[in-house]
């Protein structure tokens, strides 16, 4: 590890359990989303995933789709992504999560260059499988997704390809659902971690309560990712609810820290 090693990796090396928080840039407005990213940091989020809106977010569920739709009508554009990630980079590790066609149209090399300059610590493109992931994009360390129906063999392959963290989906379906599939998940976590432990294994797609977070950590996860639920919390209780929920998850994480 050197000076450029992102904070979350250091924490992981130190046995800290992580919380990654996702928010859609431009939702409900560009300005408010910037303020929410600060809130997520205040609440202790170790990784801040900037959901960059894409017109056809096939991997996302209803809640995030609607937020993205709103952000698009707010007129969000890439300059704002670079700006907000530069800001976040000052206090946390910003990731960008969006769909493959965005970098494809921007130009892959240019995208990586710009993202790096803007302090982006990693990237998640849910529609880019390791097989078709353009090499040049690896300049912004990818987190690849593993899903509950991924074979053990393939899960290991994906883990090897991942460079920032390993993103384990807890259920079949789009983001925001709720059913854990316990047995299979636990087995997958153990198998992956036995092969690769230098980057954190993060669990997401369906974390909507502390008890689910507890379960994830008990099953061996290095961190959890929360997204849809934050938007729901915001919609019912505003920023303070978001702050509160992330803080609670951080507390859960803290309880499990040092145990790995």
């Amino acid at each position: 590890m050197d000076a450029t090693t992102p904070k979350f990796k250091r924490k992981h090396s130190n046995g800290e359990k992580l919380v990654a928080a996702y928010w859609v840039l431009g939702y409900p407005s560009v300005k408010e989303s910037m303020s929410i990213f600060r809130t997520l940091n205040e609440a202790g989020a170790d990784i801040i995933e900037i959901g960059y809106p894409y017109s056809d977010p096939v991997a996302d569920g209803e809640t995030i789709q609607d937020a993205i739709q709103k952000a698009l009508t707010e007129g969000v554009h890439l300059d704002q992504l670079w700006k907000v990630s530069s800001t976040i980079a000052n206090y946390s590790d910003p990731f960008v999560m969006t769909y493959g066609n965005i970098p494809f149209q921007f130009g892959l090399e240019a995208f990586v260059e710009k993202a790096k300059q803007s302090g982006i610590a990693g990237a998640i493109f849910p529609d880019l499988l390791p097989e078709v992931y353009p090499n040049v994009l690896k300049g912004i360390p990818p987190a690849f997704l593993i899903s509950p129906n991924t074979s053990l063999e393939r899960a290991e392959f994906i883990a090897q390809q991942s460079q920032s963290f390993i993103y384990l989906i807890t259920r079949l379906g789009t983001t925001g659902g709720r059913n854990f599939q316990d047995k299979r998940l636990e087995k997958l976590i153990h198998s992956i971690k036995s092969k690769r432990n230098d980057i954190p294994l993060m669990v997401g797609f369906g974390i909507s309560s502390q008890s689910q977070a507890i379960q994830a950590f008990e099953q061996g996860a290095d961190g959890i990712i929360v997204g849809s639920e934050l938007i729901k919390k915001y919609q019912t209780g505003g920023k303070s609810q978001v702050l509160e929920f992330v803080s609670e998850l951080k507390e859960v994480a803290a309880q499990f820290s040092g145990n790995s």
Binding site: S55, D56, F104, L145, S147, N149
Partner: protein
């Protein structure tokens, strides 16, 4: 002797047609896609599968379809002879059944008894509802609310055959959004369900599978035409929405000495948003699982398209067409709403055949080509479907 150059041995094992195609899809789908690749390569060798497909194609769908010499249309154009490949006579009224039966058979062999499909014009949804009923499978069809409005008779047919038609009220409320929803359903129910995609689009192996099942169109032309007229046609034309009827028409002919033309929806103008002509007016990018041509804005967002014909109103196109375009094998040209509507009426009046608005695009292009050719030139146009479904939108309610 010249080296044999073939355009037939695509896609490669990763699903690429040159640089186009591939699997740009969520990981959740990867196992299902792998399973499909594997099952299909197995079934391809399975005689029983082919026999059942053949039996259903002939007794259920009504294959082979005839090639009709359009005498009065030819007279009207005053140049090349125009022949129509009559996919409009198939059960359900369009070529879509060719693919639906094939994929339903795959689903059956995979032990999946739930079918998911998207639909635009409602023709693919109808075809899926038909095979769902035929095989006794649960069937869920996603359809944009805008399309539901403009293709109501097809909605009624689907429901009558027991399919669940789910309205999609997102985005442009048309085909692209229906695809998104269908994919989301598949992502959620991938273990019990087969996604019976309706065109040569989506991640590998769909573009290949759909092309193969639709290739019966081109194979029949290749067989019947020389039998009757001594040689292959000089020119073959098909309309291109997602591109399945065109791919099925062209693929068996790509290595032959036949000029191939694809008619795209030119809509009401060349600027983005006014048409659905991905190949002739779009640019390359990722859409619905494949790298191909598409209609997008500078940042990469898919732009809502326009076409008077619901079945062509789609911002993407099959990757193999992108491949054919780039290697210059097929020419793709836009045909405007107005031209298509005019041709729709013309063919109805001159031949007593009401073409689907989609197919009217192809015939319109064929008429233009015919005018510039001599009388001994022979043009075959794939009449992909009948236009009964379009009566209301053409004539007003």
């Amino acid at each position: 002797m010249e080296t044999i150059k073939t355009l037939k041995n695509v896609p490669d094992q990763h699903g690429f047609f040159g640089k186009f195609g591939g699997q740009y899809a969520p990981e959740i789908l990867k196992p299902a896609l792998d399973e499909l690749v594997e099952a299909y390569s197995r079934l391809r060798q399975n005689q029983e599968f082919h026999d059942e497909l053949y039996r259903l194609n002939s007794t259920y769908s009504g294959r082979p379809t005839p090639i009709y010499f359009a005498n009065r249309l030819t007279g009207h154009a005053g140049g090349a002879q125009i022949y129509l490949k009559r996919e409009d006579l198939l059960h359900g009224g369009a070529h879509k059944i060719n693919n639906a039966i094939g994929q339903a058979l795959i689903a059956k062999y995979l032990g999946k008894n739930r079918l998911i499909a998207e639909t635009g014009a409602g023709q693919h949804g109808t075809a899926t509802a038909m095979v769902g009923a035929l095989f006794g499978m649960e069937t869920v069809i996603y359809m944009g609310t805008k399309d539901i409005e403009r293709q109501l008779p097809n909605v009624k047919r689907m429901k009558l055959m027991g399919a669940d038609v789910v309205p999609v009220n997102k985005g442009s409320k048309t085909l692209k959004d229906a695809v998104n929803e269908a994919m989301r359903d598949w992502v959620t129910n991938v273990e019990t369900s087969h996604y019976l995609i309706g065109s040569v689009v989506g991640p590998h192996p769909f573009p290949m599978i759909v092309r193969d099942f639709q290739s019966v169109i081109g194979e029949e032309i290749k067989l019947e035409f020389p039998e009757k007229y001594g040689k292959l046609p000089d020119i073959v034309v098909a309309c291109v929405g997602g591109g399945s009827n065109a791919a099925g028409t062209f693929y068996p002919l790509v290595d032959e000495n036949v000029d191939l033309y694809g008619a795209e929806a030119g809509g009401i103008g060349e600027s983005a948003g006014n048409n659905s002509a991905s190949l002739s007016l779009g640019s390359s990018g990722i859409i619905h699982g494949a790298y191909t041509y598409m209609i997008q804005n500078r940042e990469g967002h898919i732009i809502p398209t326009h076409s008077v014909s619901a079945g062509l109103d789609y911002p993407g196109v099959g990757p193999e067409h992108a491949f054919w375009k780039e290697c210059g094998r097929v020419k793709y040209l836009p045909v405007s709403d107005e031209e298509a509507l005019e041709t729709f009426k013309l063919v109805s009046k001159l031949e007593g055949i009401i073409p689907a608005l989609e197919s009217a695009h192809a015939i319109s292009l064929a008429l233009k080509l015919a005018k510039e050719k001599s009388k001994d030139t022979r043009i075959v146009v794939t009449l992909s479907g009948r236009g009964d479904k379009d009566l209301d939108s053409v004539l007003g309610m």
